[in-house]
Symmetry: C2
Subunit: 448 residues, 2 copies
């Protein structure tokens, strides 16, 4: 039985990484706003200083710091206002001792000045003079030229996923068409005689197809482009022609179902017939997720993945293997894992990496409702009352002031159940050699 | 000076929440895959049991558990195979003592059987009989009818943000057009005489416009629809006509720049002239983010926000105020905050909530490179080598087995600097009444 010669999760990952060519990822230039969520494909260096000039971070007066030494509310310093700098315009004058120049927030600092006195601490006498009531130190309220980005400096590295923050940095550097990795084109194929479309009413023994929807959504969230979705009966020739067609148009073909020991599990055979070198992983020592088949075809440069039919297991393997590979090839880091303490003893599955689903609960929970702070919370709804409840305020305070430490409550359930997955906020990987988890032990929860 | 009468962050949030009507959010039905990332607008109850029948989680034989009691490798039990159930078809026979029925993974369990013996532990003699070498307990390898979702049960609550997991659950329940909240239409207006387009080369004193890009990206990431982006000179009439136009088409008008004390800061006046009741928050006791103006217009049902001109501050306030309001109105929970220990003493800004930017570093870092595990890592790139480095393997191991605990390293920098924001992985809110942070103190880091 092929499935007994399974790889460990790390073996499967390394085989996959070794099977694909280093030049697999293609690049493309995208308009700045369209590049949100894309992964930068090159180190970005700035050709210029950003900002290109000394600018003020406040509305006020550019002065010589030395002129303000020792001034107080009762003993201000009086300065001559020699110019008012307009936004976007370079100052004409240079500031000498006893002089000041009005500069608005973001305005350019004139020569000679080395600090900005905030308007709140200045009093205007007439057009020509002010009193300054607070001393300012040199450099105060000033951003120097190149303080944000120095010319020649790598300010965004390859592998950086573009969030609104990076979009802003790109705009500031005048990069309006960043070079990003071309997302994979993916075809998702779900096989099974029992499957009916999500819109149909299943007859006895039938179930609605889940995996084309959940895996396509997972692909979209990775940034992939879904090239096709197909639900097929367990028919070797049907599957073979669908996969052959998909290999022409897709970088990744994800099949689900038909990857285990059943009499109608054609996935591996089809992949071996169509792909060269073909299948290199027949099963992963992962619970859930054992019936996972991985292969590659060099001619069409297509990654082939046969995922478990169980929807929850399929999603987990997609994240742990396909998501991992994509992050690796694009130089992204692995997602952050939230430290938490496990609430009960959990036995490890001998010889397998266990993917334990957990729900995160804040410790010392004040409203006792297992108030959770996780984005995609599927069970606990915040009060729909539009007035913030006392509990809300407390837990908000808790989140703001007090350290927020989490309990990880195992969510047990068969891998065929989707709702166990939506009940969970994330998962803990228990190493195959580990003895399991002991109540109170600290674990790393990778968020969904 | 209006800006000296500032609200606390919570006051500003509560005023905003009180200003908008409870029926502000509109709903719409979206095709299942298009609803990824949308927020569910109603509690979802299932009309049927999911699954609708008892199904097998393995390939094997449906048996009576009692028949397998006490069997071993050397003393198996012999059972008559009376039927082979096909996928998607209901069994004809009922299993009696001494009988078994072949059922593939996901297949329907026949009457009479109460457990599944995995094919791996069965030996087939002929078409009519098998030997079972391992005892199975009642219910083993079986998902009962309604075990995933019971008829009438609320399986997804209002306020749940739809991830691939929820998409899968919706598919399983046959909901192909979920009711979700209609995302806000947003117009982003950036004002400043110094601003030039991202594609231009700024002259001395000029800077490229950042905020229309970064704030539009932030809006897109919230799921909002960007209705318009405008960069305007600081001209009261220009701004007024742009805002008036935007109020007709948008649920939210976000302005940046012109919200502080400068002589050309028209935002508040324009908002008060156009909106009724108009501006209710003139500044927030938040660092950075003080020059924030919030208002509402009942006639056009438009939220008006004047954000700081500093790009980093503008993004933070957008997340802390606008993002908060949207999550509140749609019943979403606040994002998870990662527990970490602060690496140095940090003074609090007296009388202000401080939003401290921090970089997360894993403690006991093995490769010493401050190896970070955060998604949008902007500084540390993973080795581009396609072979996993030893350090990588160690840190991977670290992430999988060892508890992953983080150091929060403050990222200091003026709020005008975008790169301070991309260096940071998240932020810590220091309460206005807090004394600041002490080295080693535990904090909650909200990830960007």
């Amino acid at each position: 039985m092929k499935l007994l010669k399974v790889d460990t999760l790390n073996e499967a990952r390394e085989k996959l990484l070794a099977a694909v060519p280093q030049n697999l990822m293609k690049c493309e230039r995208k308009a700045l706003l369209q590049s949100l969520g894309c992964v930068l494909a090159e180190d970005l260096q700035s050709e210029e200083n950003i900002p290109g000039f000394r600018k003020s971070t406040v509305d006020g007066y550019a002065v010589r710091a030395s002129d303000t030494q020792g001034v107080t509310d009762s003993i201000p310093v009086f300065l001559d206002v020699i110019e008012e700098v307009a936004m976007g315009v370079a100052p004409k004058e240079s500031v000498k001792a006893g002089q000041a120049v009005y500069v608005p927030t973001g305005g350019m600092i004139p020569e000679g000045a080395d600090a900005m006195a905030m308007v709140e601490y200045c009093e205007k006498f007439d057009e020509r003079s002010i009193a300054v009531y607070e001393p300012v130190s040199a450099g105060r309220n000033i951003i120097t030229a190149g303080e944000d980005i120095k010319a020649g400096q790598v300010f965004l590295p390859r592998g950086c996923k573009l969030s609104p923050r990076e979009i802003g940095v790109l705009a500031s550097a005048g990069i309006h068409q960043p070079l990003v990795f071309k997302p994979w084109r993916v075809t998702v194929i779900s096989t099974g005689d029992e499957l009916v479309d999500a819109q149909a009413i299943p007859a006895s023994g039938q179930v609605r197809d889940i995996n084309t929807y959940s895996l396509s959504a997972a692909a979209s969230r990775q940034g992939f482009e879904v090239a096709g979705m197909e639900v097929l009966r367990d028919d070797a020739s049907l599957i073979e022609s669908a996969v052959r067609k998909a290999m022409q148009t897709s970088d990744l073909v994800v099949m689900s179902g038909g990857s285990s020991q059943g009499e109608k599990d054609y996935t591996a055979d089809v992949m071996d017939r169509l792909a060269d070198p073909g299948v290199f992983t027949h099963g992963i020592a992962l619970k859930p997720g054992k019936p996972t088949i991985l292969g590659y075809d060099e001619k069409t440069k297509t990654i082939l993945a046969g995922l478990p039919g169980h929807p929850a297991a399929a999603l987990l393997v997609f994240e742990l293997v396909i998501g991992w590979l994509y992050r690796k090839l694009t130089g992204q880091n692995e997602p952050v894992a939230v430290p938490a303490r496990i609430t009960e003893n959990v036995a490890a599955a001998g010889g397998k990496t266990t993917c334990l689903l957990v729900e995160l609960q804040r410790c010392g929970d004040l409203d006792g409702a297992g108030n959770r702070a996780v984005r995609n919370d599927a069970l606990v709804r915040t009060p729909s009352s539009f007035q913030t409840s006392a509990a809300d305020q407390k837990s908000a305070a808790l989140q703001n002031d007090a350290p927020c430490v989490y309990r990880a409550v195992p969510v047990f359930g068969k891998s065929g159940l989707m709702t166990t997955l939506t009940r969970a906020d994330g998962y803990v990987l228990i190493d195959m050699d580990a003895e399991g988890l002991t109540e109170g032990q600290q674990v790393s929860v990778t968020l969904f």
